[in-house]
């Protein structure tokens, strides 16, 4: 015979009931969003079209890596991609207030926001890169010592290399008026290294045919963003993104816009 006290029984019953209610509540929330998207047949995407080559507008339509990615993800899910535009400041609030289902707008994973939002797997790393000629002995940031580095005056690469210089006083920094000028200095052998953002580096390497090695020194992983309770949508987006990555479609999209 079960001799557990009556209050233990009640507690167990209450906890089970609460867990069941919470489970129901969370299920209904997540299913509601995904089911509505399926019923409507469209995925509403928020973006800030001021960030080429990821998203830009010609006044009538939007284009860029994120737009192609959104179209591919939506197609993979059997949905139509529907774009809505916001300024950067309004993007997360637009998602929170349910004006859009997902943000695909060159947004880096931001741990401080994960109470309200969830991020998909990353689809691009836009951090800063150290670039060295492919025939140099340089193998990464740990090899920094007394090289010459070309940077754009005042850019993040300039700030980073200045902080490295404090640790390695032998480093010599040359500043240029643009990232392209800094990379030209590397390309013509006037300096040993350069630091620029990975998008600028890729665009230059492909445009000028520079044979170089790139080493990420900061990470800015771009990802899709959903409301944190939209777990089913997040799972669907990750599955879709995985398929697009595996099939090589993501590389084709990135190559199209970064000129490879």
């Amino acid at each position: 015979m079960n001799r557990r006290p009556i209050h233990t029984k009640i507690s167990t019953l209450l906890i089970t009931a609460m867990a069941f209610i919470l489970l129901l509540a969370s299920c209904s929330k997540t299913e509601q969003s995904w089911q509505r998207i399926v019923d409507e047949g469209k995925l509403t995407i928020g973006l800030d079209p001021s960030f080429p080559p990821f998203e830009a507008t010609d006044g009538t339509a939007v284009y860029g890596i994120d737009v192609d990615l959104a179209n591919a993800v939506a197609a993979e899910l059997g949905l139509e991609a529907n774009f809505t535009y916001f300024g950067y400041d309004g993007l997360y609030d637009a998602l929170l207030s349910k004006q859009v289902d997902v943000l695909i707008s060159a947004l880096a994973i931001f741990p401080e926001r994960t109470r309200d939002f969830s991020y998909s797997e990353s689809y691009f790393d836009a951090g800063q890169v150290l670039i060295s000629p492919s025939d140099s002995q340089f193998e990464g940031i740990e090899d920094l010592n007394s090289q010459t580095i070309a940077v754009e005056l005042g850019a993040e690469g300039h700030t980073l290399s200045t902080s490295w210089q404090r640790q390695k006083p032998g480093l010599i920094i040359f500043t240029f008026n643009s990232a392209e000028d800094a990379l030209n200095a590397l390309n013509t052998g006037k300096v040993d290294l350069s630091v620029v953002d990975s998008i600028g580096a890729l665009l230059y390497i492909n445009k000028k045919g520079l044979r170089a090695n790139t080493f990420h020194v900061t990470n800015e992983p771009f990802a899709m963003v959903v409301r944190s309770d939209d777990t089913i949508l997040l799972e669907k987006l990750n599955l879709s993104l995985g398929t697009i990555k595996e099939s090589g479609q993501l590389d084709i999209i990135i190559d199209k816009w970064l000129g490879q």
Binding site: S50, Y88, G90, D93, F110, E152, T159, D197, E220
Partner: protein, 367 residues
């Protein structure tokens, strides 16, 4: 018997846990002791220079102090800072003033003058599933109470107060329509309450976002149209200064203004409207300004241009705009990176590494 054994094990576990907790507490480093230190003053050749700080989300006191010390050292006597209603007032009316006390006292200790931007609605004062920026007429009185209590508490410490932010953008109303009449109603409710609490307060209205959005746009309303309507609705008696946002975007500081262009000198078009409505005695406070040097953002310039345009803007405003009491740049430093283009408005990184623009500005102020 079994039960007794179980209880004994539980007691031992609890004791172990207690001992473990005591050890953890003992080996934890003591918190950094931060004092206000000696009263400082700002050395500068540009007395109307300011920066918009972002200390509201900065948790650690030493970081708040270090940020403000860097502001003083760059030679900017003014800061603009956001003090969100949502962070400080509970539904029962009680306040948690610790953090704003910390920010304002440290700012004053560094010799800085504070322009306080008030906004953001607590959950209890807005409908469910709305954003922090949502404010409707039903909560105007509550917001006025917060504003008055703030003005009273910081009398003599933060006498300049901006009512709300960029009210011509629907995003800043929680995606309600950006209606000048609603904003004027808000001014009419809040202004007298602040003045009653602190007669020395300088109440700033506006802080309009530069935008070309036409009437009926779901995103907002052209700042010039919005301001004109504010005056037509009788707003002039409900503010002491007009806060203006003046971003240069891709244009140099001295680029000619035009109603269809957003650039730094749009301030002159704003001023024309003030004069047109006989409000030339009211000063302008530029509470956000600057250029962005992100390598990809389509409205950015390169870092060298950003430095030059910023210095040119200060020179231009000093020479040509006697009605501008403060020119503050967005944004001094973020507590954490946004990891997008807004990071490229800043002068100092979250890790306190000063950017080259900081050094140029410091040089310009004679420091």
């Amino acid at each position: 018997m079994q039960l007794l054994k179980f209880e004994r094990i539980r007691f031992r576990r609890a004791l172990q846990l207690l001992l473990f907790s005591i050890i953890i507490v003992l080996i934890q480093p003591s918190p950094v002791l931060v004092t206000y230190g000696e009263q400082q003053s700002v050395e500068t050749s540009i007395p109307n220079l300011g920066v918009h700080t972002r200390l509201t989300d900065e948790v650690e006191e030493w970081k708040i102090q270090r940020s403000l010390k860097l502001v003083r050292e760059v030679g900017a006597p003014w800061i603009v800072e956001l003090f969100p209603w949502a962070y400080y007032q509970a539904e029962n009316g009680s306040y948690a003033w610790d953090h704003p006390d910390m920010v304002i006292n440290h700012a004053n200790a560094q010799g800085l003058k504070v322009i306080a931007r008030l906004g953001m609605t607590p959950e209890w004062a807005r409908p469910p599933e709305t954003t922090l920026n949502y404010l409707d007429e039903g909560a105007f009185n509550d917001f006025a109470q917060y504003s008055a209590d703030f003005a009273d508490r910081y009398r003599g410490k933060a006498d300049h107060i901006i009512i709300w932010n960029e009210p011509n953008l629907s995003y800043e109303w929680g995606y309600q329509s950006a209606d000048p009449s609603t904003y004027v109603k808000l001014l009419k409710v809040v202004y007298p309450r602040i003045k009653e609490a602190n007669p020395d307060a300088v109440v700033l209205a506006g802080a309009l976002a530069p935008t070309l959005e036409p009437a009926g746009s779901p995103w907002g309303l052209n700042d010039l149209d919005f301001l004109r309507e504010m005056y037509e609705l009788g707003a002039a008696d409900y503010f002491d200064g007009l806060a203006v946002h003046a971003y240069g975007l891709t244009f140099p500081a001295d680029a000619e203004p035009h109603p269809s262009i957003l650039n730094f000198r749009r301030v002159e078009l704003v001023r024309e409207i003030m004069v047109e409505f006989g409000d030339e005695g009211t000063p302008v406070f530029i509470t956000e300004s600057g250029w962005n040097d992100h390598p990809r953002w389509s409205l950015a310039v390169n870092p060298g241009q950003r430095i030059q345009y910023t210095l040119d803007a200060i020179e231009y405003a000093t020479k040509n705009w006697p009605y501008v009491d403060v020119l503050a740049f967005w944004a001094f430093r973020y507590p954490a990176p946004t990891k997008s283009y807004p990071d490229y408005f800043t002068f100092v990184t979250p890790e306190f590494i000063t950017k080259p623009i900081y050094d140029f500005l410091k040089n310009a102020t004679g420091n």
